[in-house]
Symmetry: C2
């Protein structure tokens, strides 16, 4: 028997076929081109999966299940996508039915942060942990709660919006419309904004040269490179970002009493520049007994987190 | 068959005997006198339970289980109390064993906020809700998470410390040693502190007269009475308190996606003075989809929440 995973992002999609021991037999990666609307994208994914099955010699009847990770909000039980910001026109798309019919097998849908948390739970930094919290820090900040070894979904599959806890009630405007959410302070977008503000403020930095004097080009990537070269403005930015993230982690420790906090996502690849202040502040600001039991570690699955999470989802029981 | 509940507080203890349909047959209430150390207090509780069984005609062999709610932290699995701030000398006390041996029946221990959340889940404002969050606002602020119809404990039974989420990173010192926790802003203690500060600041208020000019006597009770009489300083204090509480509720909505948020505890009895701003801010500051599904309601069990929670605990399966 074989399983398939699909990781749907706003800019790229990964489809993979694996055996039930999670050995990946084949994978395809292509641009979403979301501007075409949902149906051509769905057709691309179906075509890719048929092609992969053929290439790996798996008859379609041997495909036992498909796991799909996709930006939320979505309705896991009906398998329908809701208003995903970076997938225009997908609202109401019955994604699970479209695949279950075509491939005649169990198909499960999960929001991408939860799928990544599940991947870490089964294959990554969360292995062996019944209760842990997963943060993904990239363009935005998402999260997933693993409780008793399973994803905790809350009432409408929206539990785990760690990026929208309020850290500074009078802080910057967030993408969600609110102010001072963790996402508005420590996401890739927030780091870029703070970097540009500080550069515009006139403080000297290598970053000015790195962006050829065009402050609008400064982003989290530039701040990471500059910090590694010892640029003091860039170092300040990461210290500040880590402190904000540490406050968010402290809150999650106090609310969920996890055994471990796993932090993934593109921004987290910067490593100790982010983790050192985040750990320091989280340990100092969470309650002592709870901070003591919760270690704070990087995700292990890296860029494969999304597709591995989707494959793990395929192996979960329905419901 | 009969069950027993014990609600252990720092100042008073309630013991009750009920049938398995949760009809209370008898109850006793007495002062803890915690300064005596744990063993005399345990003896008082055992004596009270023996007496209640006798008075209600329940032979000790018919007692099927005992539920005990007690301040945390504690170890639910071993039944041992840890360092409870208002119960000096109890650290390491094997409370469950002491009762299970004496009464030869299943005995379960739970921290008091979780027991109260369980009571609301089974008998109160949480009936029929699989996923809800319970806040208790009194001297401090505690919480309990009901997930899938059961108390969620986290790694060490410490999940649900809603009072120690950081609302203002540079806010007032909290009892936990941290700064700007919800408890340092919206608990009874915090309300008293803010009331005294504002009175000392020289603004006119009826409260000055109510406390006979002795600002140290101003507390949440005084602020509640004054607000009901229309005192504008007191009204400001409740508005501010409700706003802080609303931020804490918004965070819990975003993190847990509950169907309902239930707010109990002594301070919550003030009613709309607290609930109106708390609801307004929580609805405005939580993510729209999550705020929409979560209503924010008062606890229903009032002063009986603790003992009813302990009785409900007695009916829970072990483990």
């Amino acid at each position: 028997m074989a399983i398939a995973g699909i990781d749907i992002g706003g800019t790229k999609i990964i489809v993979a076929v694996a055996d039930e021991q999670m050995n990946i037999r084949g994978r395809a990666r292509f641009d979403t081109k979301a501007e075409r609307g949902p149906l051509p994208v769905v057709q691309d994914m179906k075509n890719a999966l048929h092609r992969l099955l053929k290439e790996t010699g798996v008859p379609v009847e041997s495909l036992s299940s498909i796991g799909i990770g996709c930006g939320g909000p979505l309705n896991r039980r009906t398998g329908v996508v809701l208003t995903v910001p970076n997938l225009p026109g997908w609202n109401g798309l019955p994604l699970v039915d479209l695949f279950a019919e075509e491939f005649d097998c169990k198909t499960l849908l999960e929001n991408d942060a939860n799928a990544a948390a599940l991947g870490e739970a089964r294959l990554g930094a969360g292995r062996g942990f019944e209760d842990f919290a997963y943060f993904t820090v990239s363009t935005g900040i998402g999260g997933g709660i693993i409780a008793g070894g399973k994803v905790y979904h809350g009432t409408d599959d929206n539990a785990g919006e760690f990026g929208h806890q309020i850290i500074l009630p009078d802080g910057p405007r967030c993408n969600c419309g609110n102010w001072g959410c963790l996402e508005s302070l420590a996401s890739g977008t927030a780091i870029a904004r703070r970097t540009r503000e500080k550069l515009a403020g006139g403080r000297f930095s290598k970053m000015l040269e790195m962006v050829g004097g065009d402050i609008a080009k400064a982003d989290a990537q530039v701040a990471a490179e500059a910090a590694r070269m010892g640029d003091s403005l860039a170092l300040d930015i990461w210290e500040e970002t880590g402190k904000y993230l540490g406050l968010g982690v402290a809150n999650i420790i106090n609310i969920l009493n996890p055994k471990r906090v796993v932090i993934g996502g593109g921004v987290s690849k910067v490593g100790d520049l982010l983790f050192e202040p985040a750990r320091r502040v989280a340990k100092a600001r969470a309650m002592r007994d709870l901070a003591r039991v919760a270690d704070i570690v990087p995700a292990e699955l890296g860029d494969d987190g999304g597709i591995l999470g989707a494959l793990c989802l395929a192996l979960e029981p329905e419901g």
